[in-house]
């Protein structure tokens, strides 16, 4: 099967999965919230976009500044040009530990870190409940906001029963209670916590994290070591900018009651005879990996807007293609328009085609709702042009071009007399 047929097949399967219906429900919730206070969110989008534009515009300077400030507050900083370097560093930091507690992160997905850790015999425990359910059920996540919402209560109870060591009834409260207790045990037992970052404040040297469950607070405090991985696009000038980014991300995720944390180095105390000691209540070591990967290349190609993404997932709720084909319009590194673009850079052009580079209608609904107003139709068009140059143009599109060349119209027909 050629790449084209394979993509068509993937899309067809995505349409049959029945998951699109669940996505439509999420979409309507997201849209109604955004409509409810459109004015406030518009303003937030504008501020957000300005901050990201400014930050990406002085990327190199901010990377340097962030490194210095993070080190000054006691973090270990590792700059990774390539994904592989980041993975090696993180594996090294794991040492002989066999368990790591992890939070949701697109950057970690990009690194395929879970696979890498599992290959080495490390057990990765997802601590976000939705992700944990998906992990235990062996399912694919549906949507970043609600990865497991397509599963029934019975399916969830079944997935968690073995983990908690008893038969769970299909009851939400029971499920939450049991998961909470079990996850706490797992977090207490782990020596390493692994997170992404929602923002990095360059001047103050702070890692900003947004969450709604509280799992991130626990896994960044309780284990001895906190490993945070951030794409360099997460760096913004100040703590205030970082707060705006986090607030915006939260608003567009439409998750309420979130915790916003800033981590500025390891936990410390000098209460015993004034001798500074690390690792009092929180982590003893904080490592920040600043990942380039493909980001500088995106800037070089003039596609820096992609770096304005905060992974809120709002675009997924309005994309007409995703609403029909669900996960078929994605790859393991992400879903929807931003997922396809990331796929291009991380997994290469062919994978991007498979993920649906040519399935986007260019409608611009994603751009409209995106807090960064990322112009995906243009970006996707640009990558299509790059794909065509590499001979990845789809057969039906070749015919259209041939028709136009021969007859002046895409149908290849003779012009009727007016």
């Amino acid at each position: 099967m050629g790449l084209y047929e394979e993509t068509g097949e993937r899309l067809r399967r995505g349409m049959e999965g029945g998951r699109a219906e669940t996505l439509k429900v999420i979409a309507s919730v997201v849209l109604s919230r955004l409509r409810a206070d459109g004015g406030r969110l518009r303003k937030m989008m504008e501020r957000y976009r300005r901050i990201k534009e400014g930050a990406v515009g002085r990327l190199e300077e901010l990377v340097g500044l962030a490194k210095d400030s993070l080190r000054a507050v006691g973090c270990e900083v590792f700059e990774a040009r390539r994904g592989g370097e980041a993975v090696d560093y993180l594996l090294k930091q794991m040492g002989d530990e066999r368990v790591v507690v992890k939070s949701k992160s697109n950057t970690l997905k990009e690194l395929d870190l879970v696979e890498r850790l599992e290959e080495r015999g490390v057990e990765v425990v997802e601590t976000d409940l939705g992700d944990r359910i998906i992990q235990l059920a062996g399912e694919e996540p549906l949507h970043p906001v609600g990865p497991a919402v397509h599963l029934t209560l019975e399916e969830v109870a079944r997935a968690l029963s073995r983990e908690v060591g008893r038969e769970l009834p299909p009851d939400v409260e029971e499920i939450i209670k049991a998961s909470r207790l079990r996850l706490r045990e797992r977090i207490l037992e782990a020596k390493v916590g692994l997170t992404g970052a929602n923002a990095i404040a360059a001047e103050e040297g702070a890692v900003g994290l947004v969450e709604n469950e509280g799992n991130i607070s626990l896994i960044t405090r309780l284990p001895e070591k906190h490993l945070a991985v951030a794409g360099i696009e997460k760096i913004v000038p100040t703590l205030e900018d970082a707060a705006t980014v986090m607030k915006t991300c939260e608003a567009f995720l439409t998750v309420t009651g979130a915790y916003h944390s800033f981590i500025r180095g390891p936990s410390r105390t000098a209460d015993v005879m004034g001798i500074e000691q690390f690792g009092m209540h929180g982590a003893k070591e904080v490592h920040v990996v600043l990942l380039d990967g493909w980001r500088r290349e995106a800037v070089r190609m003039g596609l820096e807007e992609v770096l304005y993404c905060c992974n809120c997932g709002a675009c997924l709720s309005v994309c007409p293609v995703l609403l029909e084909a669900a996960q078929a319009f994605s790859s393991r590194v992400g879903a929807g328009p931003v997922g396809v673009v990331r796929t291009w850079f991380v997994l290469g052009p062919e994978e991007a085609v498979r993920a649906g580079l040519f399935a986007c209608t260019g409608c611009g609904a994603c751009r409209e709702i995106c807090p960064g107003s990322i112009d995906f139709p243009s970006i996707i068009e640009r990558l299509r042009a790059e794909a065509c140059e590499r001979g990845l143009v789809l057969p039906p599109h070749i015919s259209v071009a041939e028709n136009i060349r021969k007859t002046g119209n895409p149908f290849g027909e003779r012009r009727p007399q007016p």
Binding site: V318, T361, I404, G408
Partner: protein, 231 residues
């Protein structure tokens, strides 16, 4: 200034009713206009599918043709052509108009009066007209001027409008996906309680009418206007 009407491929080969309606409207309001003897595709589909070289070729050909003919006012009924002329073409001194803009102008001047039609209608924003160029009001104003027509909004409209699913080369490459999107769009219109779904794009019209399968009436704005024009 002389008005040149660029019919576009969709209205020439698949939905001739739209080009015919446009021509008749122009005649009825006594707006002199000219047609191109030989039109070449605007190249929109080539630009959208990344076939840049081929696209640039037709762009150059059309730009030369327009300048040879001294075109200064270019009318199209197709948002795809409209957007491509405005975005990708370099047409200094040329005013590019979409039919909805022209019609709205006529409405304001009192030169366009539409007759009664008792119907619950809804308007589907073409992505290239709405989100791309912000032409949300023009078509709605025209619809609102029809006595008896009740204009209902779909829950996904204007900037959050659901695409008809045809654009970007998706209809030609992934027909099933493309049709699924259009069926959902017709579903949006039915859910809004509309009997008539109006759009102002030959491609949306073609695609949505096919998806409606007779469940509701679908019309391009040009066709509706021609039917209801008085005087």
């Amino acid at each position: 200034m002389e008005l040149w009407f660029f019919r576009g491929c969709m209205s020439t080969f698949r939905e001739r009713g739209i080009a015919e309606a446009t021509v008749e409207i122009l005649r009825k309001v006594s707006l002199p206009f000219r047609l191109f003897d030989r039109e070449t595709c605007c190249g929109s589909v080539l630009f959208r599918t990344g076939q840049v070289e081929e696209a640039e070729e037709v762009r150059r050909r059309n730009e030369e043709e327009f300048s040879r003919l001294g075109v200064r006012r270019l009318l199209t009924a197709c948002p795809g052509c409209y957007s491509t002329f405005r975005r990708e073409y370099s047409l200094p001194g040329v005013e590019v108009l979409h039919l909805t803009q022209l019609l709205r102008g006529l409405l304001v001047e009192g030169r366009l009066r539409l007759g009664r039609r008792e119907v619950k209608a809804t308007y589907h924003d073409s992505c290239h007209l709405g989100r791309e160029w912000g032409l949300y009001e023009e078509p709605r104003e025209i619809l609102k001027s029809v006595p008896g027509l009740e204009l209902l909004e779909m829950s996904l409209s204007r900037e959050f409008s659901r695409c008809c699913g045809a654009g970007g080369g998706v209809r030609s490459a992934f027909r099933e996906l493309s049709s699924a999107v259009s069926r959902s769009r017709v579903g949006d219109a039915l859910e809004a309680g509309a009997q008539l779904l109006v759009t102002s794009c030959p491609f949306c019209y073609h695609h949505l009418r096919e998806a409606a399968e007779g469940r509701m009436e679908v019309k391009d704005l040009s066709m509706l206007v021609r039917e209801l024009m008085e005087g």
